[in-house]
């Protein structure tokens, strides 16, 4: 405006002319027709810039589906599936699509924070990385000196860089490492390890008959199982679902049996009863304890099971006949989250033994052994510290505890009691026990004995909210990650890498960098004195051209053997064959074969609480505006008859109370749920105001679930809690 005129800006000009043009109807005027395209080209739609595509892999859950990020003007605009990724079958789910609001989320942690007030009060001070790292290193070393290095517990989450946290803990010298797995799948792992010698991959795609119990694969995505289940169904596979809830999996199954919660073992023992009677089972010589088992299941008749689980005896017999007809291309789906009952491992053992009888091990349409991916784990030296205690803190507290993972709940118990030795420090990376572990009040109480708590995450999770130092990690789209090996059932054995699609936002940093900086300050910098490139090279030694292929296609496939991997060689069990009768259980005083225990019946007015999740949330990772549109808060599902008896109506605000705690949420009348069972989804009722979309929205499972665990593994038992429900006026 140098010359004093008020030139009409192009935008104003366009607004005016468009308004003028818009008045018209018909648009036959040649003048308008000729003029408008040129006006548009002149800039009513500013040039958007070139779209570039970048391979990456999703990190919105554990599956790691292949992705292509579309970037424009330095911003990730869209995430598309990598069609070459066989594991994910060229798809990404709602959560993967919503990852743009994972990275571009106003709630992201932006810089290191240190607690000023009391824990959980939310009084934070922004500090420099230098200050945060110095303080963290000093605190961890201080605990190491006072209470030995095992005095710090480490909880690495599911992440491609979690391996570095594990390495950090090992080199630092603590064996007290646990992760989310003791809230999830350890009982399944134990059951299958103790039957087949390893944890199998179900070959869903080639199966002809699948029984799904205690699993919901059409909502809790497992790739490729979820997509393969649908493909198998198209190819004629029969799907039988047992579930107290009418899940999406039940909705698309051929038959759905509303089983009484906690009685799955009765069904499977009766199924075995019929199968062994039918003498269709071909290979008792490849098993240990078959004869004992035949005797064992003699009393578990379908008629007996009907009374326990509510599924008619004739259906049990029919299913047994049908599935043996389809065997060996038939299976009981092993599932994933099996943290449900105090005898979860035994329940899964009953399912594993059914699979033994179907003779489906290491065969098409059955349960597959681990395939060779060929990616190595580079060696690192683990030092010896003389003053360290003999074993991890919860050692011996459960007969089948996993040495390397342990149990969060049993560890928490040990921290609270200070026995057998004190744990005074907590190093958490991307785990959120405040939202996911039963009995939140107990987790809060555990913090009374923790002198120093550092948390690395990309959000101020409920767990981070109680930390002393909060360090902002970067997101998977900003990362350079090591090679990540994966098996996708019969689909593939594969590996991928991630390179940054965009730069680190704010002051967030890669976990690897944080660990490097801490290790330098703590005197073991040489253990992390390498680059990710150097590490990757060591990982793929012997796999010619693998890294180049990962760069070119976003994924590398190893065409390794799929079926018949064992080829007659012994299994990794004590007997070397499939253990129907488990010898180790006999020694540890556990039932060597699964013995049915009736779950407690909820007394009048009470309900059994079962928990789960939808296809669009990964457990407590709910704080995403694209996903909360489908569910802004969780609800308590209750059968209409039960609701009527309590005088409750849809959408009533109710209080759900157990012996552990209580929380409030809205009631949802659900005709598809068993009458004495109520259900709620994980990931709501957040304590952290910086999980702004779910803060105080709905109820938290962690608040209500009682502290019970699987007797063999110490895995959480999330379906043992009985609750009362009342209307809040």
């Amino acid at each position: 405006m140098q010359d004093g005129k008020t030139p009409i800006s192009r935008r104003r000009f366009l607004q005016t002319s468009m308004a003028a043009a818009a008045v018209g109807a018909g648009l036959q005027s040649p003048l308008v027709k000729g003029l408008v395209p040129r006006v548009q080209a002149a800039g009513s739609r500013p040039d958007q810039g070139e779209i570039t595509s970048h391979f990456t892999a999703c990190d919105m859950c554990f599956n790691r589906c292949g992705m292509i990020a579309r970037k424009q003007n330095g911003v990730i605009k869209k995430l598309d599936p990598n069609p070459k990724c066989l594991k994910s079958r060229g798809m990404i789910c709602a959560r993967g699509n919503a990852a743009v609001k994972h990275i571009y989320n106003p709630d992201r942690l932006k810089y290191p924070l240190m607690r000023k007030g009391k824990r959980g009060e939310g009084n934070w001070e922004r500090v420099s990385w230098e200050e945060a790292l110095d303080y963290t290193a000093e605190q961890l070393m201080d605990i190491a000196e006072k209470h030995t290095r095992c005095g710090v517990m480490f909880t690495p989450g599911v992440d491609s860089q979690a391996r570095f946290v594990q390495q950090f803990a090992d080199v630092f010298g603590s064996y007290n490492i646990t992760n989310h797995e003791s809230l999830c799948l350890l009982s399944r792992n134990r059951a299958y390890l103790d039957t087949f010698g390893e944890v199998p991959y179900p070959d869903v795609l080639h199966s002809r008959y699948i029984i799904i119990a205690g699993a919901n694969p059409l909502e809790a995505f497992i790739t490729p199982d979820t997509t393969d289940l649908i493909e198998a169904k198209k190819n004629g596979c029969r799907i039988v679902v047992l579930d107290p809830r009418f899940t999406r999996t039940a909705a698309l199954a051929h038959e759905w049996h509303q089983i009484r919660p906690g009685t799955d073992m009765a069904f499977f023992l009766a199924l075995c009863h019929v199968i062994v009677k039918g003498e269709r089972f071909c290979c008792p010589d490849k098993t240990f304890g078959y004869d004992k088992f035949v005797e064992h299941v003699a009393k578990y008749t379908p008629e007996w099971a009907e009374k326990e689980c509510g599924i008619p005896a004739r259906d049990i017999s029919r299913i047994a006949h049908e599935i043996t007809e389809a065997a060996p291309r038939a299976m009981v789906y092993p599932g994933r989250r099996t943290s449900d009952y105090e005898d979860s491992t035994q329940i899964r053992r009953a399912m594993a033994i059914t699979n033994v009888l179907l003779d489906n091990w290491d065969r098409p349409g059955g349960l597959l052994a681990s395939r060779e991916v060929g990616v190595r784990s580079p060696f690192y030296h683990i030092p010896w510290y003389d003053d360290n205690p003999f074993d991890r803190v919860e050692a011996g507290k459960a007969s089948g505890l996993f040495d390397d993972i342990g149990s969060f709940q049993l560890m928490r118990e040990a921290v609270i009691s200070g026995e057998p030795y004190p744990i005074r420090g907590w190093f958490s990376f991307k785990t959120n026990f405040m939202q996911t572990a039963p009995d939140r009040q107990k987790t809060i109480r555990m913090l009374d004995n923790i002198d120093f708590f550092v948390n690395i995450d990309i959000f101020m999770s409920d767990t981070a909210w109680f930390a002393d130092v909060v360090l902002p990690g970067n997101s998977f789209l900003e990362r350079k990650d090591p090679v990540h090996p994966l098996q996708g059932s019969s689909a593939c054995a594969c590996a991928f890498i991630r390179d940054p699609v965009v730069e680190d936002m704010f002051e967030s940093r890669p976990p690897f960098w944080i660990l490097q900086e801490l290790s330098k300050r703590m005197g073991f910098g040489e253990s992390f004195d390498f680059t990710i490139e150097e590490y990757r090279k060591k990982q793929v030694e012997g796999l010619d051209g693998a890294l180049e292929i990962m760069h070119r296609d976003g994924i590398y496939f190893n065409p390794s053997k799929v079926y018949g991997i064992y080829a007659g060689s012994p299994l990794k069990t004590l007997s070397g064959v499939k253990e129907i009768y488990n010898q180790r259980y006999e020694r540890s005083g556990d039932d060597p074969m699964p013995v049915y225990r009736r779950p407690s019946n909820p007394p009048e007015g009470q309900f059994r609480l079962v928990v789960g999740r939808t296809a669009f949330f990964t457990q407590s990772r709910t704080n995403n505006e694209l996903l909360t549109e489908f569910m802004e808060e969780n609800t308590l599902h209750m059968h209409p008859e039960s609701a009527e008896r309590l005088g409750l109506k849809n959408n009533d605000l109710v209080e759900v109370a157990s012996r552990a705690g209580k929380d409030r949420l809205r009631l949802e009348i659900d005709e598809g749920i068993e009458k004495r069972t109520v259900y709620m989804a994980t990931g709501f009722g957040s304590l952290s105001p910086q999980m702004s979309l779910v803060y105080k929205k709905g109820a938290s499972i962690a608040e209500i679930l009682e502290d019970t665990h699987d007797e063999i593994t110490g895995n959480a038992a999330m379906h043992e809690t009985l609750v009362s429900v009342r209307k809040v006026s």
Binding site: K5, R10, V23, G26, V32, P81, W256, L626
Partner: protein, 247 residues
């Protein structure tokens, strides 16, 4: 050759995961609470006991052969592209009357809360131009949605239509002739609403329209005058202001 884009959906494999809805929402930066596509759900009949089933039905604008939304548009902003069969919206010509929104029996349109114009599925024409499938099709885990050109006999969509029984979700009394086909059968079928043309609509299109054409001519003149002024007064300062505004 002219294209006839359509969608053939196998709703029996839809697992209601919402991937298509989020993919679409991200692709088009849709506002909260509004969608260009959907997954409908039948009400299960629990009296069927163990045979109780559910059925989920993905959908979006059906790019009808008889597009009632196009008929309802008084300004010509909404039109069916003869080259592709895509029902398009030229926002620059939209007067925001909302007639097209109520004229669509599938509720496929909504009024954008910020731009105040109708918005709906355009089969992701920006992605098509890049050689990509529409966002909802590309991401679908079970590949329930198949998109393609029915005029191309080699396309999967044309193949499915040729070899499989399909149903369409139609409306009466006015048949929209949708270009959305469902394999075998689908549920629910009874959800479309009425085709509603505003009362003034016929009067407007039949009577007032000629007058509007004159108005268009006049406005065109005004546009030309503005342009001439812009060309002659295109000083440095206006360019600066323009940059500032675009930034």
């Amino acid at each position: 050759m002219k294209k006839k884009y359509a969608m053939v959906v196998d709703s029996s494999v839809c697992i209601d995961c919402k991937a298509c809805m989020v993919s679409c929402k991200v692709q088009h930066s849709l506002p909260r609470g509004h969608w260009r596509n959907w997954i409908k759900e039948m009400r299960p009949d629990f009296s069927l006991g163990k045979y109780t089933y559910g059925h989920f039905q993905p959908g979006n604008c059906m790019h009808c052969e008889n597009p009632t939304c196009v008929h309802a548009c008084p300004s010509g902003a909404t039109y069916k592209d003869e080259e592709t069969g895509i029902v398009q919206i030229n926002e620059d010509f939209c007067i925001g009357c909302g007639n097209c929104i109520v004229a669509c029996p599938y509720f496929a349109r909504y009024r954008h809360p910020v731009r105040r114009v109708p918005d709906k599925c355009d089969y992701c024409q920006d992605r098509l131009a890049m050689g990509l499938q529409p966002a909802c099709v590309d991401t679908c885990p079970t590949k329930a949605r198949v998109f393609g050109d029915l005029n191309d006999p080699e396309s999967e969509a044309a193949f499915l239509l040729r070899t499989r029984d399909t149903v369409k979700i139609t409306t009466s009394p006015e048949d929209t002739k949708p270009n959305m086909y469902y394999l075998a059968s689908t549920e629910p079928m009874d959800w479309p609403g009425e085709v509603k043309y505003p009362a003034a609509h016929s009067t407007m299109t039949g009577l007032v329209n000629p007058l509007f054409k004159i108005a268009v001519g006049l406005s065109g003149l005004a546009v030309a005058a503005m342009l001439i002024r812009q060309i002659f007064s295109g000083s440095q300062s206006s360019e600066q202001e323009e940059k500032k505004e675009e930034a």
